[in-house]
């Protein structure tokens, strides 16, 4: 079995069998992570480059650890976006990195489409670690993996994604992944942050959180970017929390065994109450652990696709 593409640029580019293969492979890696020796020689001799145009300690560390546990050499290459505009072009930077012998390039960038552009222009495998407001495919895959660990099947589940859908690459990747795997997706948030056009994709949209959470199996909370405040998306974080914050009371509308997820880092008291974040429905820390297994699986599988 193999993935069809040398790159993981978007969930939209995957079908159910690709996603299934990644999740299955991730299960094997989760095994490895439970051992004393957490490293396997599978990708010995390969070089992985973390090309991060946006600061993100969490995601970068997760990818770095995943790559190291597969025995690849890892190089971190951080560029500040401000210097990019004036400095070396994206393509030149990427070609330089490739010329250094990178086999896998993990890229994060504040512009949508950058992972796609690099995948088209490079022979190396490109993994999208988040591009602008487009996609963050490994986050969605690790979320699916986490759900699959707790629920028998993804098919038929009712999943609510709550918050800033418009600017969230996590929300979009999850929406595509969940829909592909047969779950029913609801988007909840203020109309300024939930584009109505998404209804065309067969998802339901709610601005009333109490209604939207009714009988859902999964509640996925999104991080609210503080800088949206005062730009007309919502008046204040206080009002936001009042309408769309996940409190124990609100969570009670969902199924009893509903899972609460959050891609992190959380704004406690803005989108999620601490009681919920730390409560027994929360699988937020599982998500972090699973992220490692899923990223190992992705790197391992991509390395097997001959470009």
């Amino acid at each position: 079995m193999s993935l069809k593409s040398k790159d993981l640029v978007s969930i939209r580019g995957l079908d159910a069998s690709d996603i299934g293969l990644i999740l299955e492979t991730a299960a094997g890696f989760k095994d490895v992570l439970g051992r004393d020796i957490k490293k396997v020689p599978a990708l010995r001799g390969k070089t992985t480059v973390n090309l991060f145009y946006e600061p993100s300690t969490r995601t970068r560390t997760s990818f770095e650890l995943a790559a190291k546990r597969l025995s690849t050499d890892v190089v971190n290459f951080s560029v500040s976006t401000s210097s990019v505009v004036k400095g070396e072009s994206l393509r030149d930077t990427a070609l330089t990195i490739q010329a250094l012998g990178a086999d896998i390039i993990i890229v994060r960038h504040s512009c949508s489409g950058v992972a796609h552009f690099l995948a088209d222009n490079l022979g190396a495998s490109v993994v999208n670690a988040g591009d602008g407001t487009n996609e963050h495919p490994t986050q969605a895959l690790l979320d699916l993996f986490t759900i699959q660990e707790r629920k028998e099947a993804i098919k038929g589940l009712r999943v609510a994604i709550v918050g800033d859908i418009l600017h969230s690459r996590v929300a979009k990747s999850n929406m595509y992944a969940l829909t592909t795997m047969g779950a029913k997706v609801r988007l909840i948030g203020p109309p300024t942050l939930v584009p109505e056009a998404l209804e065309e994709l067969g998802v339901e949209i709610f601005s009333d959180m109490d209604k939207g959470l009714r009988d859902v199996d999964i509640v996925m909370m999104l991080r609210i970017q503080m800088e949206r405040q005062g730009k007309g998306f919502f008046p204040t974080t206080v009002e936001y929390f009042r309408n769309w914050g996940l409190t124990p009371e609100r969570l009670s509308r969902a199924k009893k065994d509903a899972l609460v997820m959050h891609p992190g880092p959380m704004n406690r008291g803005v989108e999620i109450a601490s009681d919920v974040a730390d409560g027994h429905n929360s699988v937020i820390l599982d998500q972090v652990t699973n992220g490692l297994a899923v990223r190992m699986a992705v790197l391992y599988l991509l390395a097997g696709v001959k470009g």
């Binding site: 489409g113 950058v114 796609h116 602008g132 996609e135 584009p195 056009a197």
Partner: protein
Amino acid sequence: MKIAIRNGRIIDPARGIDGIGDLVIEDGKIKAVKSQKSKGRSQRPEITGATREIDARGKLVLPGLVDLHVHLREPGYEYKETIRTGTAAAVRGGVTSVCCMPNTNPVNDNASVTEFILKKASAEGACWVYPIGAITKGQKGEELAEMSIMHEAGCVAFSDDGRPVMDSLMMRRALEYSKVMNVPLISHCEDLSLSSGGVMNEGLLSVTLGLKGIPPQAEEIMVARDIALAELTGGRLHIAHISTEGSVALVRAAKKRGIADVTAETCPHYFSATEEAVGDYRTNAKVNPPLRRKRDVEAIKEGLHDGTIDVIATDHAPHHRDEKLGEFDFAPSGISGLETLIGLSMRLVDEGVLSHEGLVEKTAVNPARIIGVDRGTLAPGAAADLTVVDTETEYTVGAAKFVSRGKNTPFDGWVLSARPVITISLGRIHEWE
């Protein structure tokens, strides 16, 4: 030098001619035209002594096209295009008169820049060049430029194209003041606060691509405002590059009510492609206003058909390859359009949206009328600007082979069936196989 073009289908809507016939050029001027459908019986033109015989059998013989909206980039952005390469691209596209937008560096906001452009054009240009001056100094929207002096220097219209005049009072004053010269103001309609850094049409596609959208209303609000200001002032308003259904409706209503002196243009890309062309972040489909939805394309065709839209112009906006290669958000907007103008527009004739005559009206007669120049006709005595178009050919658009320095087009690889094989401009014959 005497040139005879024989057996072509001569289309000259200015004189109501559409028929097979012969045309003779002498000393850079049309000497005589004889076609079966000519009004008034003219004699078969003198054919003796022609130094050049051109057989145009099966081809169209059209007046050289007049493109109201071209960015020649010179001075200041010669790496994108120059007056020499831009006018050569025009001629390749059957265009023999171009109006060049003022967003150069320095901006064409004073007579010395206008004079520079005209001097350069007469030295190096392959066709007529009509500069368009800036409405405001530096296109900053703050102070009126010296429109009257620039008009004397040769500007045929005024525009802050590339950016709108956001201040309504400034636009009002400009429209009022333009009456001194009786020239049109060409308005790039975009409410900048609403378009707010958008890079493509707003809709499902922009959301799924994670690209910031520009709603059609960002254009329509300004179309409505400018029509209202034209009504208020009595100034002449020409609306550039209409891209939406709503804009067509607003112009149609304004024309019907007869309240304002308003004309409108669209570009080939707005009736040939939709936002889908952006596909997976294809920067060559990034243009402002952005490519829209199917319903907008249909509305624009209807607007061309019923006369709401007077002009097809290219908004030829060449960019350097490197600028379009990279982040979609950072890539400049624009399409290199001169060399696909006829190929894309002729599809409207094939679809029955326009007649051949209608097409020539939109691309030659009307634009010449709007800027008040004596072009766009094959009348005896007129300058011998013409193009011979093969409509039976089938060819693949190859951007790499463009004469223009700008190879940026979303139509690369499209199969089209009409293109000029001969253009006569400024007394020179340009021929291609």
